[in-house]
Symmetry: C2
Subunit: 393 residues, 2 copies
Amino acid sequence: MGLNGKPLVSIISAGMSKFGKHDGLLAREIFAEAVHEAFTRCPKLDPKGDIKALFIGHMGEAYEHQGHMGAAAADWAGLTGIPATRTESACASSGAALRAGIYATMSGLADVVMVGGVEKMTHRTTVEVTEYLAMASDYPFEQWHGITFPALFAMMATAHMHEYGTTEKQMASVAVKNHYHGSLNPKAHMQKEITLEAALASRYVSWPLKLFDCSLITDGASCIVLTRPELASKYTDMPVHIIGSGQASDSIGLYQRKSFTSLNATKLSAKTAYELANVKPCDIDLAEVHDCFTFAELMAYEDLEFCPVGKGGKLLDSGETRLGGRIPVNTSGGLKAKGHPVGATGTAQAYEIYLQLTGQAEKRQVKDAKIGLTHNVGGSGATAAVHIYRSDQ
Amino acid sequence: MGLNGKPLVSIISAGMSKFGKHDGLLAREIFAEAVHEAFTRCPKLDPKGDIKALFIGHMGEAYEHQGHMGAAAADWAGLTGIPATRTESACASSGAALRAGIYATMSGLADVVMVGGVEKMTHRTTVEVTEYLAMASDYPFEQWHGITFPALFAMMATAHMHEYGTTEKQMASVAVKNHYHGSLNPKAHMQKEITLEAALASRYVSWPLKLFDCSLITDGASCIVLTRPELASKYTDMPVHIIGSGQASDSIGLYQRKSFTSLNATKLSAKTAYELANVKPCDIDLAEVHDCFTFAELMAYEDLEFCPVGKGGKLLDSGETRLGGRIPVNTSGGLKAKGHPVGATGTAQAYEIYLQLTGQAEKRQVKDAKIGLTHNVGGSGATAAVHIYRSDQ
C-alpha cells in the first residue's frame, strides 16, 4: 500500500470512564460515561447528529447475558438510529473496532465515526470471569482440557525463559513500572505503587506467573472519534492523526503455532502499520502495549522491534520503557494497573496516546511526544491490532 | 451522500453451506464449506493470497462456548494471517458484516474482502437456543421478565392485527409461500411444501404466532467476496454490484418504541439504501426479507415500501410476492424454510440474490431479474441492514 505517513484518519476527541468497580451499572451506562467525556472535550461535535456510525468492542455476552451491544450502547449514548455494530476479537475487540472504524471513515460513507469498547466484569466471580475469558481460546483443543489464560501465557513465558534467559524478576519489574505509571493516572483501577519484593512474593497463579503478573478484572469503557483528515479542523485545533494501522490473525490454538516466544499476529500487524506510517520502531516516542500478563509486555517489545529478539527483559532492565526513558511504555498503567475491561482496552490505549500527543496527560506527560503506538492482542495472540499515531503540533 | 446508483462494491463470488443439521461439525468447519464454494465458483480468486480482510457474523458464543470466531473461522478457511473480525448484531450479524466489508473495500486498504456468517445451533435443546437468542433482547427490561422472541414478535403481530386487520391466515400464507420456494432450493433446511390447513392447525407458540409461523433452528454458513468495482473484471465476467447500503439502529427494548407495527431501523436503512442506489421500491425485481416470523415478512413489505402501510397482508394475498409474481420475496425459502442459522442469515440472503442476478438459481430462477434487495433484522428490530444489488448483464 504505502501511504508514506499520510494520515489515514484523524482523532478529534476521546473519552474514557473511570476504570475500576462500577457496582450496579450496566455496560451500556459505563459506555455512556466515556461518550459524555468525548462530547465534552469537543464542543464543536454535535452529540445529536455528527456521529454517522459506531463500532464497539465488547467481548462477552455472558457477563450480563446481553448480546446486541452495538444497538444498546448507541441507544444509551444518545446515538439511536446510526449503524451500530459490536466487534468481538476477544481482548482485541476494540482494537478491531478501531480498525473497522478506520475502514468506515476512509470509505467516504461516514464522515465522523465513533469507535469504542466496554466490559462490565467485576460483578462476576473470578471463576466465572476465568471461564468467560477462556472462550477466547480454542474450545475443543484448549478449554476442554482445562487450560486457562494464565496457563497459556505461562507456557509462552516458560519457553521464553528457557530460550533467552528471561527471569521472574524481569516480569515482576514490568508490574512495578506499570503500577508506578498507574499511580499517576487518576482513572486507573490501581493507583498505588508496588515493590519488587511484593510482586515476587505474590502467590503463583500458573508458574512462572504470579498474582502480580496478571492484569486486573475491571469495569470500564473508552471511545475515540474519527474523521477524515481534511475535516478535522472543523472540529478541533488539536487532531491526532492515525498514520498506520495493521491487524492480523493467527491460529486460535497455541498448539498450532510454530513459536511460543513471539506472536506472529503482532509481527504481521506491526509490519503493516510501520509501512503505512513510513516510520521505524526507533521513531516511536511512546507506546501502549498489551500487558495482559507482565511477560506479554516483554514479548511485545521484541515483536514490535523496540529491541532485538530475546532482549525484552534487558530493555525493561535498562529503564528506557519507564516514564522519563527513551520510549515509555504503558504510561497509563497498562492492563496491569489501569485495568483490563477486555472490550474497552484497545480504544483505552488509543485514549492514552491521544492525551499524550495533545499534551493532556498531566503528571504522566511524556515530553515532546510526537509519535505513539498502540498494540492490542486478542486471546493468546490469534488477533493483534497495531496503530501508529502522530501529532503535528 | 447520493452516489446515484454508482456501484459501491462488486460481488465476485459467493458460497453457502447446506442449511440444516450438521451433527459433529464445529461452526468453523461449516464456514469452511461455504468458503470452499466461493473459491470454487471463482477460479481466478487465489485462496492463498487475494482475500485481505474477513468480517464474519456470529451471534452466540454460548452455542459452542467459543468466542473469537473471526480468527477461528479464518484459520479453518485457510486464511490465517489476514485481519479477521467477528461482528455481532444479533440476527443481523452478517448484515452488519456485509456493511463493515463494504466500508473496508471502499476504504482502499483492502482490495478483496470476504464477508460471511455462521451459526451452529442444532446440537442445543430448544430451551437453550431460546435462551441464547433472548440475549439479543434487553436483559433488565425484557429477558428478566421472561419475554422470548416469539413473544416479542407476537406483540407486534397483535398490534398489526388490531390496527390493520391483518389475519392469522395471511401469516400462515407466508409460510406456505416460503415453504414452496424452499422446496425448489436444494440447500434449504426444509424442502417440503406445506398446506395452509397444516400451518393454521399447528400449535400456538405465542398467540397469534404458531409453530409454522416461526423460522427454524438451523446450522449453516454463508459468505460473499467483495472487491472495488474497477477490479471486478479481473476475477469474473459476472459481477453483481452493490449499489445501495443502509444500516440503522433502534432501541434494544421494544417497550421504548413509538410503534409496534413497523421497524424504524428498517425504514431508516431502506431510505439510505434507496437513496444511494437511486432506485425506488417499484424498481426492485426480487427481495430476501427477514421472515424470522411470518408476520415479520408482512411488516417488511410495508417498511420497505413494497406496499402502503397496513397493506402487507393484501400484497401477500395478491400473489405478487410468490415466484412468478411481480416481486418475488424469499425465493430461497427465507428464514422460514431455508432456515435461520442466525449469524449466517444476512450473507445467505446476499448469496441468493447473487445466484438470482447471475442466472444460477435453477428451479427458482426469477426471469430477467436485474435489481435485488436484502433486508436483515437483528433482535426485535434494534438493528436492520438493507442492501440493493444490480446486475449489468
